[in-house]
């Protein structure tokens, strides 16, 4: 609620009022082009903290009434979930977090390089970096995942040593492509948001372009890049269950296997997937709150 009001708009009213009278129109506190970057975190962080227990209650109690008269009772299903819980967390959700960490690391590294390419002086480099960025930013994630999973070798041979590449590593590369492209846009946007006067001042002090970029411009945009970067981390974490479609072991894959070994009773569906929903929410919600808090703090200072 508060997040909506602080950007100067009236709750529920999207457009400025159409009037000729001398009124103060709603104004944007944030520079154009940045607000929508954090759309996901803004939405998530705007949820009140009690959304979490509500979600938990809905996931656990609603099915208890819906399937109460069945042979395999809800109590049995919850009992099954309880038995599987440690396994689902340690072998499942931990894997989602591991995949998201590595994907973010690879995506950030490649994305920063690509983003710097997008602000390069060389036209060729700028154009090709821009093309690669737009290509991967606008491709369906699942398609990219499939391409990488199915074309990457399952092992590499260096000399006489053969190293098997586990599925989840391939998934990391597949997911890091769209992350790379979006980080690239964050870097480009941040660099271009620094006033041109900073470039001119460093130029007139005989700094080389390289020095200007690394000593003057990038240190100033570092803070501005953190909130959108965290926003993408939360989006990525939410997207990690995509890899279950390719058989990589993570929370959703293991939940399905666990339900299978419990004879696939339909009563199991809602507790198991409800748990998945709750644990993703519990992980991403603090990140979103933190993102928005940082974004507010940094936007006041600059």
């Amino acid at each position: 609620m508060n997040a909506r009001r602080s950007d100067g708009t009236i709750p529920g009213i999207r457009a400025a009022a159409a009037t000729d009278m001398a009124v103060l129109h709603p104004f944007k506190l944030r520079p154009a082009g940045r607000a929508e970057d954090l759309l996901f975190s803004r939405w998530l962080a705007a949820l009140p903290p009690w959304a979490f227990p509500l979600l938990l209650a809905a996931a656990l109690l609603w099915p208890a009434t819906a399937f109460a008269q069945s042979h395999y009772t809800m109590a049995d299903a919850l009992d099954a979930l309880w038995r599987w819980l440690p396994f689902l967390i340690t072998k499942g959700f931990v894997m989602n977090v591991v995949i998201s960490f590595f994907t973010m690391a690879v995506g950030t590294l490649l994305g920063v390089l690509l983003g710097l390419g997008q602000v390069s002086h060389s036209v060729l480099l700028r154009r090709s970096a821009g093309f690669v960025t737009q290509l991967f930013r606008n491709s369906p994630w699942l398609v990219l995942l499939f391409i990488v999973m199915l074309t990457f070798p399952f092992q590499v041979t260096i000399g006489s040593v053969t190293i098997a590449i586990p599925d989840w590593i391939k998934a990391v590369f597949g997911l890091s492509l769209p992350i790379m492209a979006n980080i690239s846009e964050i870097v480009r946007g941040a660099v271009q948001s620094v006033p041109t006067g900073q470039w001119e001042a460093s130029e007139s002090l005989a700094f080389s372009r390289h020095q200007t970029m690394w000593r003057i411009i990038l240190p100033q945009c570092f803070k501005r890049m953190i909130p959108p970067w965290m926003n993408w981390y939360a989006i990525l974490t939410m997207a990690t269950p995509l890899v279950s479609l390719l058989g990589v072991e993570e929370l959703v894959t293991l939940s399905r296997q666990a339900m299978e070994s419990e004879d696939n009773h339909p009563e199991l569906l809602i507790p198991f997937f409800g748990f998945a929903l709750v644990i993703f929410f519990a992980y991403c919600y603090p990140i979103a709150r933190w993102t928005i808090a940082l974004e507010r703090r940094f936007s006041v200072k600059l």
Partner: protein, 251 residues
């Protein structure tokens, strides 16, 4: 970069028949002027007359279409010229200060000599502290630009430029963004520099200041120099009707 044949008996900055267009708009239509070492010249004129463009061409922040600009005998707009070498000789101060917001006042002053000239840090620091004292900001060494007033920021910017020990200083409307009370503290600093023999080219709207410090005043209008002369004759006996009209509106 100094031309081997150049001596300080010749103009330190020599501008000859410079033309410059931004798209269809011709901003400079054949401007020529010479500045001798130690001279202070002021360029005045209405907005959009090409004053700022002209001095930005002197340190190659803008390119020129035709003509020639020489600093210490070296052609500035020679494609082969090392611009970084030129900028070590020519300092510039901007209207919007353009201090680096993530560095303290002292770091702002020290950065270029350490990173560009590769001078040892401790000798640069001694010089930087002396310069900050010179612009009367002792005690503000560790303040960030955001904590300083406009006038204080502009004086740090002057110190930052001086730390490179340039031969020529360019001032591009350095008081235009300041409130009247802080204008004076910046002008006092520039005046002190001028009296110490620094070659200065100033674009300014401060007529009283121009009259006081300038050796010569140039009046530009619509891309040409309309009138020039030492302050005494310039203000008292302007010949060109455009100059007279401008002065009557301002003074």
């Amino acid at each position: 970069m100094t031309d081997a044949n150049w001596t300080d008996k010749q103009p330190i900055v020599s501008i000859k028949d410079v033309h410059k267009s931004f798209g269809p708009l011709e901003v400079l239509k054949g401007v020529s002027l010479d500045v001798m070492k130690g001279e202070v010249i002021c360029i005045i004129g209405p907005s959009g007359s090409g004053k700022s463009t002209l001095i930005r061409c002197v340190n190659a922040l803008n390119t020129i279409d035709s003509g020639s600009i020489k600093v210490e005998g070296q052609e500035v707009h020679d494609k082969k010229l090392d611009k970084l070498e030129l900028r070590k000789k020519v300092g510039m101060v901007f209207q919007q200060y353009n201090l680096f917001p993530h560095k303290t006042a002292l770091q702002n002053v020290m950065m270029a000599p350490v990173l560009v000239l590769k001078e040892p840090k401790d000798s640069v620091e001694t010089r930087a502290r002396a310069l900050i004292k010179k612009v009367r900001l002792n005690g503000k060494e560790d303040s960030y630009p955001g904590e300083l007033s406009g006038g204080q920021q502009q004086r740090v910017a002057i110190a930052r430029s001086l730390a490179m020990q340039p031969d020529v200083m360019l001032f591009d409307e350095v008081t235009a963004a300041l409130d009247p009370e802080t204008v004076k503290e910046v002008l006092v600093t520039i005046k002190q520099l001028a009296q110490e023999g620094m070659t200065c080219i100033l674009v300014t709207h401060e007529m009283g200041f121009a009259r006081e410090v300038a050796d010569r005043i140039y009046f530009t209008d619509r891309g040409v120099i309309v009138e020039q002369g030492p302050p005494a004759t310039f203000f008292a006996q302007a010949k060109d009707p455009r100059t007279r009209e401008f002065l009557s509106q301002i003074l």
